[in-house]
Subunit: 372 residues, 2 copies
Amino acid sequence: MNSRRDFLQKLGISTLALHLAPVSGWANTKNHDNQAYDGPVLRVAIMGLGSYGTRVAEAMQACTKAKLVGVISGTPSKIKEWQTKYSIPEKNCYNYNNFDDIKSNPDIDAVYVITPNGLHHDQVIRVAKAGKHAICEKPMAVNAMEGQEMVDACKKANVKLLVGYRMHFEPKTLEVIRMRKAGDLGKILFFQGLCGFTIGDPTQWRLNKQLAGGGSIMDIGIYAINGARYMTGEEPVWVTAQETKTDPVKFKEGVDETIQFQFGFPSGAAASCLSTYTMNNLDRFFLNGEKGFAELQPSTGYGPIMGRTNKGELNQPVTVHQTVQMDEMAAIIFHNKQPVVPIDGEEAVKDLKIIDAIYLAAKTGKKVEIRL
Amino acid sequence: MNSRRDFLQKLGISTLALHLAPVSGWANTKNHDNQAYDGPVLRVAIMGLGSYGTRVAEAMQACTKAKLVGVISGTPSKIKEWQTKYSIPEKNCYNYNNFDDIKSNPDIDAVYVITPNGLHHDQVIRVAKAGKHAICEKPMAVNAMEGQEMVDACKKANVKLLVGYRMHFEPKTLEVIRMRKAGDLGKILFFQGLCGFTIGDPTQWRLNKQLAGGGSIMDIGIYAINGARYMTGEEPVWVTAQETKTDPVKFKEGVDETIQFQFGFPSGAAASCLSTYTMNNLDRFFLNGEKGFAELQPSTGYGPIMGRTNKGELNQPVTVHQTVQMDEMAAIIFHNKQPVVPIDGEEAVKDLKIIDAIYLAAKTGKKVEIRL
């Protein structure tokens, strides 16, 4: 039992199907750029071999520019299993005590940190100190201060820091952003992001304040926060927030069950968002402008994203998000490619500043100014 | 140019089509109870011959239990036009100065007040004093104090006071309420109501604080307020609200352009609502429970309501809301029929108390307790 599997199940897609990606009918993400690739391949070690790490590893099998070559785990049996499955040599296997030695391993370019949120800060800084590029799963840290320290450490070590914002490469998402930038929706007035799922096992790390850094906002609400920014194309200047807790046993002090939050933007546009660990059937982005609207539903799940605008259904290809993300990250690292929406540490710090503000707004009941 | 026509146009339904109700493919609302009716017929005078009054008059042509028999207007030419169109005798025609004389008219049972919001209070009290049942368009008044005075006046005069909550009789709405009551959705966790349209002519009474009593909340946001109550089956205990104004020329002091508001309910359920005069493409109710969800979209427009639940599409018949409402009001007045969701003055005062609280919350930025 883990939250990501629950999340997956709510979307009605079997875990099996995702292990077979790219599946029939989906875009062939292996050759998603439709040309042979003979440039450098990003050699990645995954840190944290849990369910999302497994998903990334499976998706990476279809990558052309990135390759899984190493693992970092505290569980020897998992390392063995991954070694067999992905032909990982012994010399590329590390545990949490010795992974600083990766510094002297010329066969690993980057480490993708997919561990509990509360551990990202120290682990990413150790990766940076080892001179490897750091890829970090979202949320990058548990608050903006930690996030900024990670950015600073990577800058000092002269390595890249990228964050697993897989939606930034999703074709229907990018089409809505394109339409908004082209003025097809007119002046943007409103964004709505509803994100949530019913979380399972009460003993999992996502419900542990120390490891998760918070509750639903950290894990799933961050999609609405980040989405509000890339969908509107603006940075919020204020936030209000309201928390509701129906199960204080499962959701302890500091672990939010459900938070509604609202943003105001400089243009006068507003956003209304909800983040929850207590509801399924919530996965919707809605962007409304003076001339038109765009709806993504599901908007951030692992399965096919679906959407429509005032002009009709969106028909951009369905991709395996993590495959595209890893190939794009290789291009960013090797070729300094500029993604449509940034995925660097600075981008992640902005989300963390907003999370800090949301928690403050929910706690005080007051409108909190945001300065990014 | 008027707001109701704008609202209609946004739904893509021509005014013409609604004058031909019931149209082919819709339920035959004339015989919506599928049996001949030989009981008493509610003889109604309409006060205020504007666009919504016209809509009600047209819809009433298909009623079996209610009949348009009189008019009250300040515009003699309109009275003439209606007399011709609906065969209304001269003796059933009044203006705003002399309509108290309706007291001695035995051919009129009830007056449907469809005038600007700020006039309802005095006009309904005059109707009550004339000994006629009062039907009042929503919002019943511009604040709870005025609303309570209307309730008291009608009680004192021993006449009914009913409010034009047409959605309370809408079949898909009622099906969602039935499902929720039957437990099909499980414990209710969340309601969302998005209501709005782009209002036209800046000189219309709906944008005049004196006549409208406020802005979008009064006219369109009230659907989300009322819907939050009948969809969840609970009364809110707190509200928070955030106003955004992008056009202070069109939306003057006291006339809200866009307000987001959030409710908390005793069970721990939450609601997130938006009311606006600046956006189209907003007409959605969403009810989420532990076991399932229900979505109505459009949820409150004049055209066909559409909906789905976790079990699939809702296929209840499409009705002309005002036809059903007037027949049901006749049954309530003559036979003391109890509607599934109340439509009396007390129900309307609850909405007005909530509106008072929303304005206070938006103004102060504080969570406001609601006591209904």
